[in-house]
């Protein structure tokens, strides 16, 4: 049994992240790298980039999951130890992007989740970060929300247009 709350507490000050690109244009990926550089310095939060999903606490996920990258993405996620915490970045990751319905993509992370379940790969917590590309500050905010250190600001809203 995966104790998510305990895991989140344990990694709060030292988050090892692995960056997984499922076929994005690289804008989000460069902003991920940018978050490590002096102006944003995400290492203040104890975030460190690791070279293998096996060492990762959190996976930073970009890209619309292209058809070609699909099996490799599943393999990389399977290699990640539980609890699997994912930060899905960008328009491509969250919603499949501007090309969400082409023959060569799968349609972003939400479609990938179904496939992961089929393949027996469980994901424990996902936080979605919209952006095109995501700003480094948005990535930092996303990490804080993932760890429960910040409140989520967006809420589903439904308003009726006033009648005549």
């Amino acid at each position: 049994m995966v104790d998510l709350a305990r895991a989140l507490r344990a990694i709060k000050r030292s988050i090892w992240v692995y960056h997984l690109n499922s076929g994005s244009c690289n804008a989000c990926d460069i902003e991920v790298l940018d978050a490590l550089t002096p102006y944003f310095d995400v290492e203040r939060f104890g975030v460190k980039l690791v070279g293998s999903p096996r060492h990762a606490d959190v996976i930073l996920f970009t890209g619309p999951v292209t058809r070609e990258s699909l099996p490799k993405v599943v393999r990389a996620l399977r290699a990640m130890p539980r609890p699997r915490l994912l930060l899905v970045l960008g328009s491509c990751g969250v919603g499949g992007g501007i090309w969400w319905d082409t023959y060569a993509t799968t349609g972003g992370f939400s479609k990938l989740e179904e496939i992961l379940r089929e393949q027996g790969v469980e994901v424990d917590r996902v936080v979605y970060v919209p952006g095109c590309p995501v700003r480094p500050e948005a990535i930092i905010y996303g990490i804080l929300v993932l760890l429960g250190l910040a409140e989520q600001k967006v809420r589903e809203v439904e308003v009726h247009a006033p009648g005549g």
Partner: protein
């Protein structure tokens, strides 16, 4: 038409080429596949570079499948576009790789995407996913852009014997797959298995849910580093095809933003190169300086990347006095800090020794493969689209094009360092000469079935867009990004070299895999993956 061009056309006519159309600096010829090889040879001997070739399903227009070969004569500033039509029943063209080695990839891509067989060479699937069904050609007009054939799920990658570098190597943050075959410490052969980033972009632009107006946003996301180049090249191609005259001020604004993009890209590369050489302090400082350009870009256009200001006929956002002031101030800061950093980096002994003499690409190899950008200029080829085929406001400014002949990693580094300084000067001149006036045309009209070729000097080299206009949206849009042209040169650079030099050499071409994996729909025959053998199944390196 000038005399040398006229003479060349006469020669091509004698070899079987018929002039279909002459539009400005573009000469369209049509020829049968039997004349193709001799025409290609003649063009190559005349000094032409192959820009790219594109397969087009022209069955709805004229009942044939056509392969367009786009040659550029840099010194004359003229493009010669050769069209070879074939019928669906007998869809084959001969390979031109023996005459023009640079045609290797684009031939395979035309085969994948519209199903034209290439005879006389070993063929393999290049662009489409491994599990794509045979006989399904995405760029054919009877294929719907959102059809997703059933997945053939492979959960295991094949056994590796070489030293695989990828698909998720910490040095390169994009999915790609290099297989290096080693003998001891020496690299004996290289196979590149990429196109993980193939998203179906070219087909998407032809789809029912897209129009001319929306494609610039699509183009901008082909690549997250040189996106503005792609959106500018697309609008330039459409404007050329439709004869739309863009106001001068818009051209200047486009040029300024293009150069700002070049700055961010080169600084990015410098940081990555430093990191690969073990000099992380250099990486941090380079990206610190780069941050100025990112913030500047956001202030000028509204977004740090994916600027979104290009529209057909001009730009969406103007540059007021405050913005121009801020630009000049930022450039002064960037220049001062960059010069200091470059000095320090070039004086670090491990950088000089590891970059000097490694990853050599000879001038002969560079020419044969039609490499572009800093890779070409570091190997003695004086090629720069801003000078050879001037576009936007580049005619109004003067700048140097750095040229080196050693062809090693250090030369490529030095070319980029000099280009940063030249870009800063170019922007200053552009701001100085910025004319007044509107920033976009009032309205435009795009007649269908017009063709145009546009090229822009991206930070990585020449980016080519070929367009055939359709009704309300492009009929065919071919994107050939610079890295697509440069990756094949890696083989020449890596073979016979120590394994330890491989990461730096690969990074030295400034690879942008997402540009390379742009949409072109291919129809690939499912060949087996030949990953273990050093010979056989892989097309012989033309060199």
């Amino acid at each position: 038409m000038t005399e040398p061009v006229g003479k060349l056309i006469e020669e091509l006519k004698n070899l079987g080429g018929k002039v279909e159309e002459v539009r400005g600096r573009e000469i369209y010829l049509v020829a049968s596949r039997d004349s193709l090889r001799s025409l290609a040879k003649a063009l190559y001997s005349a000094g032409a570079y192959l820009k790219t070739c594109a397969g087009v399903d022209e069955r709805p227009i004229q009942g044939v499948l056509s392969v367009y070969y786009i040659f550029g004569l840099d010194e004359l500033g003229v493009d010669v576009i050769l069209r070879v039509p074939v019928t669906e029943e007998d869809a084959r063209v001969p390979t031109i790789v023996p005459e023009v080695p640079a045609a290797d990839w684009c031939e395979l891509e035309a085969r994948d995407m519209i199903g034209v067989e290439i005879t006389g060479r070993p063929v393999r699937r290049l662009v489409l996913p491994e599990d794509w069904p045979e006989g399904v050609y995405p760029l054919r007009k009877d294929f719907d852009y959102s059809t997703r054939p059933l997945r053939g799920f492979r959960s295991e990658l094949p056994e590796e014997v070489g030293v695989p570098l990828g698909p998720y190597h910490p040095a390169l943050h994009e999915p790609e797959y290099f297989e290096l075959y080693v003998d001891g410490e020496k690299v004996v052969d290289v196979v590149y298995r990429g196109f993980h980033v193939h998203r179906g972009i070219e087909k998407l632009a032809e789809s029912p849910r897209f129009t001319y107006k929306q494609v610039p946003f699509l183009a901008e996301r082909i690549c997250g580093i040189c996106g503005f180049v792609h959106s500018s090249c697309y609008v330039m191609a459409v404007e050329k095809a439709a004869g739309i005259e863009v106001p001068e001020r818009a051209e200047f604004i486009r040029s300024i933003v293009l150069e700002v993009e070049r700055l961010h890209s080169h600084l990015l590369w410098l940081g990555v190169a430093a990191h690969l050489l073990g000099y992380d302090a250099g990486f941090m400082h380079a990206w610190r300086i780069r941050e100025h350009t990112m913030v500047l870009a956001e202030y000028l256009t509204g977004s740090r990347k994916t600027y979104g200001i290009n529209i057909i006929g001009g730009v969406r956002k103007d540059l007021n006095v405050d913005k121009l002031d801020k630009t000049l101030k930022t450039l002064a800061t960037v220049r001062e800090e960059f010069v200091k950093l470059a000095e320090v980096m070039l004086s670090v002994p491990q950088i000089r020794s590891r970059a000097s003499g490694t990853g050599v690409l000879s001038r002969f190899e560079a020419r044969a493969l039609s490499v572009v950008g800093p890779v070409a200029r570091a190997s003695g080829l004086y090629r720069d689209v801003r000078k050879d085929y001037p576009y936007f406001a580049y005619r109004e400014v003067s700048f140097k094009v750095p040229l080196y002949t050693e062809g090693d990693n250090l030369a490529r580094l030095l070319v980029r360092v000099e280009e940063v300084l030249e870009s800063i000067e170019i922007i200053k001149q552009l701001i100085d000469k910025l004319p007044g006036g509107p920033i976009a045309v009032e309205s435009w009209d795009i007649p269908p079935y017009r063709r145009a070729v546009a090229a822009i000097e991206a930070p990585r080299g020449e980016d080519v867009h070929f367009i055939i206009t359709g009704v309300g949206k492009p009929y065919r849009w071919r994107v050939r990004a610079p890295t697509y042209q440069n990756i094949p040169a890696l083989r020449a650079m890596l073979r016979g070299a120590p394994l330890a030099d491989a990461p730096l050499t690969i990074a030295s071409i400034d690879p942008c895999f997402s540009c390379t994996d742009r949409v072109v729909v291919y129809d690939l025959k499912t060949g087996s993956r030949r990953t273990l053998r050093i010979s056989g199944g892989v097309p012989p390196c033309p060199l």
